[in-house]
């Protein structure tokens, strides 16, 4: 080999390593931003205090989610990008719908779990989904293979420490006692954890075969809204459900807004799953509980007048959550592990007949050479306008409830959210053009 050939090989290897490091950092940043936005999604729902059934609340939130899952991708890349992705990997429609169904059933189970055993016991049980995600990532997608004991300790230890922190926070923030059906509630919470942990199999499957997260969520939401509607009608009946929705006109906007904010968090969670895998992406985005508690304490005054031991639990739980996040964030995948990810991606590509160069380019956060640039059409703008109009109509009907609300901390937290959104979106755009 000549000296110049050796130099160019070394330069290519250095470029590849640098690109890989940038994508890992992007995934970690996305996971952290996901936690902040998923946690903030709880804020609008706290404004809802009238007696609507939990299933109706879920259904209205999912409706907001549905609108956001179509309008945001149309706004960011255009639906032509979604269509192009589906043409390349049509099998992922089934996977996305399946993931949406898993989410809806898990969400309904959490309602029963909170009712029967209270949030303090239920939350840590379903938060175990991150441990199951690590297991599926290792078993099916070569995650944490050849990762070394330090990374294993960082990821698994970090996830366990976060579970312990989540337990403390849940105990501190719990205001609801057990409802007398503890056995049933424990099963419901564990079931939700298993369903959510398994939901990440379709996520990883999609991103290993190159699908853009913005395309995946548009089909995910059909499973989500379809299953949630079926459950709501099944549990409540069509006519009573309709009457309940009519009587809830004044709060529909707040619930749909919660769904909209949740989608922004979920989009970053999808990018985290894509660039750092599910074993690291899920624990990072599970930091949402910490953010939810910040809103609860500082904006809605939830722990006002509680004992000093409660505040100690909050401080201890928050520190543990942050420690876990740091441990996972500093355990990014090594070159050897990423080679194993690529092997899993090639296996998926072969199985589903997806072009190898497309899979490789998308895993690298790029467009394939034969892909044309996507643009927004009139249809995309109409979609965005229609979704915005629906929100505006319900905002016109919305009532502002009389409740404890501190505007200063709300403004600070909102500024922090917007800053994180700006930094992460800019990083995603510069590094991957949202691929």
């Amino acid at each position: 080999m000549t000296t110049s050939a050796a130099q160019s090989l070394r330069s290519a290897e250095a470029q590849s390593a640098s690109r890989s490091k940038a994508l890992q950092l992007l995934g970690i940043l996305s996971g952290f931003t996901a936690g902040a936005w998923l946690g903030a999604a709880e804020a609008p729902t706290k404004l809802v205090s009238i007696g609507i059934s939990p299933i109706a609340i879920s259904l209205i939130m999912v409706t907001g989610v549905f609108l956001a899952r179509w309008s945001l991708p149309a706004l960011i890349l255009g639906t032509s990008s979604v269509r192009a992705d589906v043409r390349r990997a049509p099998h992922l429609i089934i996977w996305a719908v399946l993931a949406g169904c898993l989410w809806a059933v898990a969400n309904t189970l959490t309602i029963f779990a909170i009712r029967d055993i209270g949030l303090s016991i239920a939350f840590p049980l379903w938060n175990s989904n991150s441990l199951l995600g690590i297991f599926w990532g290792f078993l099916f997608f070569n995650e944490l293979r050849q990762a070394g004991w330090r990374r294993w300790t960082g990821v698994l230890g970090g996830a366990l420490v976060m579970c312990a922190g989540a337990t403390l926070l849940a105990i501190a923030s719990s205001t609801q006692g057990p409802g007398g059906h503890s056995f049933r509630g424990v099963w419901a919470a564990l079931g939700a954890g298993v369903l959510w942990g398994t939901m990440y199999i379709p996520y990883r499957k999609a991103y290993l075969t190159g699908m853009n997260p913005l395309s995946f969520v548009t089909f995910f939401t059909f499973g989500e809204v379809g299953m949630m509607s079926a459950l709501a009608i099944g549990y409540t009946g069509l006519a009573p459900l309709w009457r309940e929705l009519l009587s809830a006109r004044g709060v529909i906007f707040w619930l749909m807004l919660g769904g909209f904010i949740w989608v922004i968090g979920d989009l970053f969670q999808q990018y985290a799953a894509k660039y750092v895998g599910i074993s690291r992406g899920i624990p990072l985005s599970n930091s949402n509980q910490l953010w939810g508690l910040l809103w609860g304490i500082f904006v809605f005054g939830e722990l006002r007048g509680r004992s000093s031991s409660t505040y100690l639990q909050v401080v201890g739980g928050s520190l543990l959550m942050m420690l876990g996040v740091v441990a996972v964030a500093f355990s990014s995948a090594s070159g050897e592990e990423q080679t194993r990810w690529k092997e899993a991606a090639q296996r998926e590509g072969r199985r589903y007949g997806v072009a190898a160069d497309y899979v490789e380019a998308r895993m690298d956060g790029r467009q394939a050479a034969d892909e044309s640039a996507h643009s927004r059409s009139l249809w995309d703008w109409l979609l965005v306008a229609a979704a915005s109009a629906i929100f505006v109509v319900f905002a016109g009907m919305a009532r502002v409830p009389q409740m404890s609300f501190d505007g200063g901390p709300a403004a600070l937290l909102t500024a922090a959210l917007l800053l994180l959104l700006f930094i992460s979106a800019l990083a995603l755009w510069r590094t991957t053009r949202f691929n």
């Binding site: 049509p90 099998h91 089934i94 996977w95 399946l98 993931a99 169904c101 898993l102 059933v105 898990a106 309904t108 189970l109 029963f112 599926w136 078993l139 099916f140 049933r184 099963w187 419901a188 079931g191 298993v194 369903l195 398994t198 939901m199 199999i201 379709p202 499957k205 459950l231 549990y235 296996r347 998926e348 072969r350 199985r351 589903y352 007949g353």
Partner: protein, 41 residues
């Protein structure tokens, strides 16, 4: 664990999905979740 290796190129993506072991894991979990929900209710 390599559960999806398939040397023959599948002509139909639907067949590829239905013969993928990894597909049946979430399907089974979903069915168990629905049964659990029914039994709880």
């Amino acid at each position: 664990m390599d559960t999806t290796d398939n040397p023959k190129a599948n002509s139909s993506w639907l067949v590829s999905v239905l013969t993928d072991v990894q597909f049946w894991v979430p399907v089974a979990v979903l069915l168990v979740g629905l049964l659990l929900l029914r039994s709880i209710d």
